[in-house]
Each structure stands twice: as C-alpha cells, then as structure tokens.
C-alpha cells in the first residue's frame, strides 16, 4: 500500500510542529530541567509515578524506567511526588540550574500510623495528559479487591473499568469497545502474550505478586503500539527489591504463590522469581480415590496450572541498564478412561525478553530489546501401542528499538522500529502404532515477517493546548503475500482551566494475525493464522472525544468519553469449518465489517480513607457478514450484535481503610444480559438403518438468527476484608465473598428434553438456565518476610 497524500501531509505537520516554536519559548523566561528517577524504597522503578508542581499546574509522569523530566522556571518550587499505593512526598526545591534528583517513595499501608492514601497528584496528571481511554491499574487496588476463589486477577480488575466487557461469568477475557478478545495486544515487558488465560479464561496468566503495573489503552493508541485493533494491555513486571532479600507469598483456596526477590551485587541489580500452582488435582484425586470402584462414579480428570515469572536487572553503568524477563506457564490436563484410553492435554505460554536501556543524555534514551514469545498446545491420546497427537503453536522472535527524545520542554519525541518473525504452526497431527501399520504425520506451518516504524511527538503548544501526533508504518509478509499500512495517530487536549480539560483523538490500526476459532469463548485450542492469500489484514479506526473535570477540591475526577469505532475485514468462519490441520484454512474464513459506539462515564476518587470509582457505559456493537464463499454469511447477511454487546454496564468499586490493619472493599457490577443464539425450530432425524432406534431423541436444532436472545441482566456484589497481622503488618488474611447475595446470573440457556421417568420417552422440551457461580467465600493468607 502506498503512502497516501494525507499521511505525508500529516507527517509534515508533525515535523513542522516540532521545529517551529521552540526558540520563541526559550526566550520567554529562564527555565531549567529537573530530571531524575522515582523508585520505591525497595529500589524498584515506579513507572507512572507523578512528579508535579501544583502551584504551577504542571507535572509529568515517570516512564517505564521510573525516569522523569520536567522543565520549570528558575526559583523556588514545591514538588509533590505521588504514586498510588505509596505515601505521597512533598519536597521544596530552589532550582538554579539543570538538576537531577532521585525520589524514593514508601509503600503505604506498612506503617501503623499511616491511614491516608494520597492520589490527588495522579488525578491532576490524568486531567492534563492528552492520552484518552487509558486505565492505569494499581496492583495495590487489585490486591485489595475481592476476587473469585481469592485469586487476584488483574484482567478481571480491568473488566471493572468502563468500556471493558467480560466474555462471561468469571472469565478474564477482555472485550474492549466492541472489539473481540483476540484484538487485544497483551504485552508482558514488551513481549506478546498470545493466550493470557488459564482454565478457559477463568484465571489470567498474570501473577499479581510479580506485576508492577498494568496500563490498558482503549483508544488514542500511542504510535509505539500496533498489531491489534481494539486495545493494548501493557503489563510490566516488578524488578525486585534492590535492598533486601524478601520472600512473599500466599496460600489460598485453590492455589499458592511464592515470590523471592533481592539485590544482585550489592544493589547494582536485583532479581525476582515468582511461582504459582493450583491444587485442584489434589482434591480431585482424593475424591476419585474415595469413590473408586463405585459403578456410577465417573472419575474427575486431573487438572492443574502453574506459572513462573522471573526478572533480573543490572546496572552496567550510569547510563546502561539490562533487564531480563522470563515467563513460563502451563495448564495440564490428564485423563485415563476405564476403556484404556490415556488422554493428555497441555497448553501455555513461554516468554523471554532481554532489554538494554541506554541513556545518551537527560534528553535522550533508547530501549533496545529482543523477545521470544511462544504459545502452544499439545494433545495426545494413547491406547495400547496406538498414539495420536494433535497440536499447534505460534512462536515470535522480535527485535525492537524505542527512542525517546525531549529536545525542549515542549516536545516529547518518540520513534522506533520493530521486526517480528512469526512462525505459525497452524496444525500438527501424528498417529502411530507400535507395529508400524500406522505411521502418519502432518504439519501445516507458515512464516510471517512483521515490521513497523513509528514516530510521534507530544507538543505542548501552550499551557492550555497540548497536541500529539504520530505515524506508524507497518508491513507484513507471508510467503509471496505482502501487505502494508499507514497508521496515523492524533490526539489533542485543551485545558479550559485548572480543573477542566477537553480531549479528542483518532487512531487507525491494522491487525495482520488472526485467531482461528469457531467458539464464542477463548479456548486453548484456538490457533493463530497469518494474513495470506484471501485473508486480508483486519483494519479498524476509532475516533473519541471527551471531557475531564476535577471536582471536590481535586479529590474526584469525572471523565466522560464518547467513541465511534469501525472496522473492515473482520473475520469469522464458515459453519462446520475445518480448523485443524487444514492446508487450505484460508478458504474457511469469511469476512465482514464491524462498528461500535458508546459513551463512558467514569468518576474516580483516589484520596482519603475511602477511594474507588463508579463507571457507566452505554454502548452498541454491530457486525455484518454478507453471504459469501458458498455460505449465507452470518445471520443471513443481516446486521447482528456480537454476544458480548451490552447496552448498559455499571460498576461501583469502593475501598475503605478502616484503620491501618483493616481494609474493607466492595465491588458491584450491573450489565445488560449477554446475547445468545437459541434455536427457534427443530426437526427429528432418524439416520441410516442400524443407527439409533426410533426417532432420535435428540432433535436437531435450527438457528435462523445469531444472538437474537438476551439473557437476564447480570449483577453481582463482591465483598472483601483485608486484615493485616503481625507487628510489621507484613502478613494478612484476605476474605473475599464473591457474589455476596448469591445472585443466579445466567451463564447460558439451553433447551433440554423432558423425559417420562417410567418409560424414558421424551415428553416435551424445556428451556433451562444454567448459572456458574453461587456465593463463593474464600480466605487467603498472604505474607512478606
């Protein structure tokens, strides 16, 4: 695809905006640069920490390394350094030259005397940034909130933010502003996570003990991100304590966690290793053993998952830092039938990243990284000497460099490049017998090369107006098929006054890899497929605008955003598509368009003993797949809503610090019911002679319309208490009550046959609603030594 005229014009504007007004600004007054780092008392960088001068209404946020840079007029200033979960710090400063300062913040909640968590500076910073549609998740908040089975899950916490829907009860899949779950770019320290779920999405792969921060971008995507249409989930792992060796962990209802961290070479670096494992299998084995020999008892298969995170960093010198990240997670499922059948199924991600940070000067630094990301599933059956295996994987090797340059205090330039080699193991099948009669193998593999170049500038035109423009050039090649895209990104913020700002942004995204699934849920057997042959890249554009208001003397931030998003080449699959080990898989795709729009209202409070937020979303999502490729399309070519379309979504989250030992939390969710497809008609099928006897008792359903039935509204209240124990408050008991008033939310509805108990004959049909989770209390013990 050639560069369009408009794209070149935009790029020119970007360059001119950077070159223009800097000299005029420099002549206005004497200014100096304050730069430095914000770290925790453990020595870990605090990305997103705010460094502000409230009197001037200016401030900045620390980058991913905890670096900040702020231009201030010469003279005396009072600085406020803040980060959620840490005690706010105030420092007086007489600025007479360019100066570097390092700030160390203490964690809140670790001192008996401390009761207030300050976050006003964070809200101020949020008001001032041009970035819209971004949610920064505090791990402290996530850990305090009540969780299903007591398992803290950052992706489920993100579902409590406006504009983000879950796929269903208890699942951690994210559906952002009408996009599907495979359209989220999930990054773990810059490496792509292809399947961020354990156990069909009931749990995410992220162990909260190892996570430093999570940012979710729903719109206004910065130019350094690309490759997915709907959202970016940027997860950063902690670096580990640079001062002391520390062990933390927890023992919960279904899993236990252990983390060990400490300094390397007297604080020149640090490491953290964290592991988690569930123990469903221990319970189910005991249950199976207790019921062994009972005729009507079917043994429960073995299942467990584990994941391990590791990260190390080392300071090579004043200007060079190395970071090494690793992740390994697996779900393991095993089953031995009484028929002699052994069934094993495992799946998971393996991720590694090596990043080198080099600081050229206080104005320029670069991050260069290489990463490998692998997702695979393997399924094997064994009977006597016969074996059957099925599997798939995707493996990426990525190299990228990201430069950040601040030539003046008005410009923040970012530029970079990345190159990813994908290997798509679309399907692997092998069958063998010990006697050699069966010896069959089949592999369908493709390669893809994905590249991107980007540049962006955040330009402070005046105290009131801030502009951000970016351009991302992307390309993808698989075999002889090549595609390219120009992705402009633009954002603007106008501050009406110190307490009100208006924002607008636009982004275009391409997605070159596609999830192959014919299921409404994320399954481990879903595979990824490159753009090739008839499968064109998916494309999406989004425009959003909104206003932010600081209320209540800066204690509350009210944000209202509206968005419209439209996409082309959205993918679905033919009914009955052959998705496994199919060398002509591209013929199974069908293509359509999507569009969604909505309004998100978000009120948050981050100061005082009581914090939390209220979010409300009014939204519509649509899809259309016209008849094509010998199919009737989807829904006979008529517009339809995806099953995660929800008109109303209300979340209320409250965290209250009763005293230094006790935190009370509550979250309430109300959403319109999920959409589902129910059969309208049925017919009986006798089948060929020698099959079932009589008219088959299981009728064949006929589904004329997609997602035309709406389940009952979903609502749920979760409650939590965190009780800190020990003289240093380094242990806690966390009580979570999921679904506190035991609401029977609908997970799905089906039509069951009603049988006469005497004759066993079918006498009618009945709609039944299945709920997944009743009230579930759980208790977790957490420690830190």
């Amino acid at each position: 695809m050639a560069f369009s005229y408009s794209a070149r014009y935009l790029f020119l504007i970007l360059l001119l905006s950077w070159a223009g007004p800097q000299r005029a600004w420099a002549q206005q007054e004497t200014r100096f640069t304050l730069s430095g780092t914000v770290r925790s008392a453990r020595g870990e960088a605090l990305p997103g920490a705010s460094v502000a001068v409230p009197a001037l209404g200016t401030g900045t946020a620390a980058d991913s390394l905890g670096h900040f840079r702020l231009s201030l007029p010469a003279g005396r200033h009072q600085l406020v350094i803040a980060f959620i979960g840490y005690l706010q710090q105030t420092r007086d400063l007489n600025l007479t030259r360019n100066q570097r300062l390092s700030f160390v913040l203490d964690e809140s909640g670790n001192e008996l005397g401390e009761v207030v968590v300050e976050g006003a500076a964070t809200l101020q910073e949020k008001l001032k940034t041009t970035q819209m549609g971004v949610e920064h998740l505090s791990i402290r908040e996530a850990k305090l909130l009540p969780a299903l089975f007591g398992e803290v899950d950052i992706l489920k916490t993100l579902q409590l933010k406006p504009g983000v829907q879950s796929g269903g009860e208890g699942t951690s899949g994210l559906f952002v502003r009408g996009g599907s779950s495979d359209q989220n770019l999930v990054l773990l320290d810059n490496a792509l996570v292809y399947n961020p779920n354990h156990l069909f999405g009931l749990f995410s792969v992220f162990n909260s003990d190892a996570v430093q921060s999570v940012d979710l971008y729903k719109s206004g995507f910065p130019a350094q991100f690309g490759g997915r249409l709907s959202s970016v989930v940027d997860v950063k792992l902690r670096e580990g304590d640079r001062q002391h060796y520390v062990a933390t962990g927890g023992i919960g209802l279904i899993s236990s966690r252990l983390t060990y961290e400490g300094p390397i070479n007297k604080g020149k670096g640090s490491f953290i290793v964290s592991g988690r494992r569930t123990y469903f299998d221990i319970f189910t084995r005991a249950l199976n053993k207790a019921n062994e020999g009972k005729e009507d008892y079917s043994p429960i298969p073995d299942y467990y998952f584990y994941d391990m995170n590791a990260k190390a960093n080392y300071t090579l010198g004043e200007k060079d830092h190395l970071f090494l990240t690793g992740y390994l997670g697996r779900d393991i499922f095993g089953f031995s039938s009484t028929g002699g059948f052994n069934f094993n199924f495992n799946w998971g991600n393996t991720i590694g990243t090596l990043r080198w940070n080099h600081v050229f000067s206080s104005k320029l630094f670069v991050n260069t990284s290489v990463a490998v990301s692998d997702y695979q599933y393997n399924l094997s059956n064994k009977l006597d000497t016969f074996t059957f295996g099925l599997g798939s994987n995707i493996r990426d090797y990525t190299a990228r460099s990201d430069f950040e340059y601040a030539p003046t205090d008005r410009h923040q330039l970012k530029a970079g490049a990345l190159l990813t080699q994908h290997r798509f193991g679309v399907g692997r099948l092998d069958a063998n017998s010990g006697d050699g009669r069966i010896n069959f193998g089949s592999d369908v593999n493709y390669y893809g090369l994905e590249g991107a170049l980007y540049a962006s500038d955040s330009y402070k035109a005046s105290d009131k107006l801030q502009l951000e423009g970016g351009l991302r050039l992307t390309g993808f090649r698989s075999g002889a098929d090549q595609y390219g895209g120009v992705e402009p990104r633009a954002a603007a913020r106008y501050a009406l006054n110190e307490r009100t700002s208006f924002k607008v942004n636009y982004a275009l995204m391409y997605q070159y890899v596609h999830l192959v699934t014919n299921s409404g849920a994320t399954l481990p057997t879903d595979i990824w497929y490159p753009s090739r042959l008839s499968v064109m890249p998916q494309k999406s554009q989004q425009v959003s605008t909104g206003a932010s208001f600081l209320l209540g003397n800066g204690k509350y931030l009210l944000t209202d955003e509206v968005y419209y998003k439209w996409g082309r080449n959205q993918v679905d699959f033919r009914d009955g598509a052959q998705l496994f080990v199919n060398p002509e898989l591209d013929a199974e795709f069908i293509f359509g368009k999507s569009w969604s729009y909505g309004n998100e209202i978000y009120l948050e409070k981050k100061t005082g003993k009581t914090t939390g937020w209220i979010g409300y979303t009014l939204a519509w999502s649509w899809r259309n797949f016209q008849p094509q490729r010998g199919t009737t399309g989807v829904n006979n070519g008529e517009d339809f809503h995806p099953n995660y379309d929800r008109r109303h979504n209300l979340t209320v989250v409250v965290l209250h610090q009763l005293n230094p030992r006790i935190n009370l939390t509550a979250s309430f969710v109300y959403t319109s019911g999920n959409l589902t497809t129910l059969p309208l008609g049925r017919f009986g099928l006798q089948d060929i002679p020698g099959s079932s006897v009589g008219l088959d008792p299981r009728p064949v359903p006929i589904y004329p319309n997609r997602n035309s039935y709406q389940l009952i509204p979903y609502h749920r209240l979760d409650l939590g208490v965190v009780y800190k124990i020990g003289s240093r408050l380094n242990q806690d008991l966390t009580l979570s009550i999921y679904n506190a008033y035991n609401r029977r939310n609908a997970y799905f509805v089906f039509f069951d046959t009603v049988k006469d108990k005497g004759t066993g004959r079918t006498t009618g049909f009945q709609a039944r609603q299945v709920s997944l989770f009743p009230v579930i209390p759980s208790l977790t013990y957490n420690f830190r030594f």
């Binding site: 298969p301 039938s337 009977l383 057997t525 009914d575 009955g576 017919f683 008219l695 359903p701 709920s771």
Partner: protein
C-alpha cells in the same frame, strides 16, 4: 469437539464442588414465530425397496410428536430417467417402536432398487402448500474392508476387554468420506438394525490414497460378534451429518458456535443419499 467435553466436564465438576444450591433453573423463553419447512430423509439401498420419511420442522418448544404431512407427493427419478412415484404409506408403528430398529417412512416404493456405482438418482417432493424439495445423489463405489482384528488388554475377569480395528484403503480420488458402524450381535437376528456400539465418520483430507485403520477403546468382551459396516459417503452427506452434530452440540454447550444445517436437498431440509457399504464380521475370542 469431543476432547473439549472432558475439560468442560472437569470445569463443571470443580464448580459444582465449590458451589452450593441449585445452579440450573427452568425458565420461560418466548420464541418468535417460526415457519415450518419440509424435512426429507431418504437413504436408498441397492436391493431394497426405496422409501423416505417426509416430516416438517416445528417450533422448538412445541409438542414432541413429529409432524407428518399427508399431502406430499414424492417422485424418484431412476438413472435411466424413469420417474417412479413413491406413494404415501406411512408405517406409524415405527415411531413408537423402540425395539425392532425398523425406521419410519412416510412414502415407499413397490420394487427393490437396482443401483450401481455411478448411477444418478433424483428426488422430487412437493406438497399442496407449494413447498417443493428436490435433490440429486450419485451412488459411490463400495470400499472393501481389508481386515478386521482385535486385541485384548492384559486384565482379567470382567475387566478383560478388547479393542477392535477396521482396516481399509482409501482410493486415490479426493473428497472421499466414510462412516463406520460396529454392531454387536448376530447379523442374522437383526443386530445390524440396532444401535451401534461405535459410529464414526472420517474423511480422507489428510490421508488421501492411504491405509485407514479405525480403532475403538477396550470395550468388547470375549464372545462378542462384531460386525463392521463401512459406508462410502460423499462430502455433502458428511457435511450434513457434521452440521447436525454441530447444531446439536451447540444446544447446551456455552463454548460452541451454532451451526446452520447443510442439507443436500434444495427447498427444504434433509438428506438424499444412496448407501454404498461393505461389511466384515468377526467373533472376539
């Protein structure tokens, strides 16, 4: 797919352990109006009198009784172009017979069918309401079963069981599909009309022109007489069967995507096929 069922069962088992109270409730679902279509199910067999069942689709939550229209005219066109009417002579008894294995038919001919591989047959079904279903099918060549064999596990007593293997070779041509049924019992006593022990469908997409070995788990006892019936079916029949299976599985499986029914008849729903089969019988000792 079958291998999702066990993880799903596990998940539900865990959830059942964790939960309390009733998690399944009867509800009323108001369904919109649904217009009925003709359903045609016709399996011709060489040497047997041609018959078919014509019914209609019904609203899902309506009465369980099948709707058998009485105003339907059926014409079977033979390979030589001869049109043979199949009169309406329903054997309603078969609808309530759960023992003999005799299938219900609404229409039946008078003389046994003569069919050879390559023969093309046509069906025409029309009722007085103007609903009109047509279909065409070709008889495929039967595929010989090369061998059947079995092997016992190393257990004793009632746990001593055998698996059963059926071997055949796929022809070089593409798009061959197969359906294998294994019946237990004496074929001479009608065992092949009863529900099979094993019923599976496969295609030659990955094994074109190669040897197929289809096996079972350890499930047969010493003394069982096992008959393998191998049907050579075309892709449209395979796809119809697959689509009905997918549609059924979607009802009650929250992970499944509902499937449309891919019939090989036009103007209604159903299947029209000539069965081309071979059999092999072995006593497991």
């Amino acid at each position: 797919m079958a291998y999702f069922l066990k993880p799903t069962a596990l998940l539900l088992a865990i959830l059942a352990l964790a939960g309390c109270g009733k998690l399944q409730n009867d509800i009323n679902v108001p369904l919109p109006a649904y217009s009925a279509e003709l359903v045609v199910e016709c399996y011709l067999e060489p040497g047997k009198v041609p018959s078919l069942a014509v019914s209609t689709t019904v609203p899902y939550l309506s009465s369980v009784l099948p709707q058998i229209p009485t105003d339907v005219t059926v014409t079977l066109t033979m390979p030589d172009g001869t049109a043979v009417p199949l009169p309406f002579q329903p054997n309603y008894q078969a609808l309530i017979d759960t023992v003999s294995g005799v299938k219900f038919h609404s229409h039946i001919g008078r003389t046994p069918l003569v069919a050879r591989p390559g023969d093309v047959f046509k069906i025409d079904v029309v009722d007085t309401k103007g609903r009109h279903v047509t279909g065409t099918t070709t008889m495929l060549a039967p595929i010989p079963i090369d061998s059947v064999n079995y092997k016992f596990n190393d257990k004793t007593g009632s746990e001593r069981k055998a698996y059963f293997l059926t071997n055949f070779r796929d022809p070089i041509s593409l798009d061959d599909c197969y359906r294998l049924q294994l019946h237990k019992g004496n074929p001479a006593k009608g065992a092949l009309l009863k529900s099979p022990e094993v019923d599976m469908s496969v295609e030659d997409r990955l094994l074109n022109g190669q040897q197929f070995v289809l096996g079972t788990s350890y499930r047969f006892n010493a003394g069982d007489t096992v008959t393998a019936t191998l049907y050579h079916i075309d892709r449209s029949f395979y796809r119809f069967r697959q689509s009905t299976r997918d549609a059924r599985n979607a009802n009650g499986n929250p992970f499944a995507q509902p499937s449309a029914i891919y019939s090989n008849v036009q103007g209604g729903v159903g299947i029209f096929a000539v069965l081309s089969s071979t059999t092999a019988t072995k006593v497991v000792r």
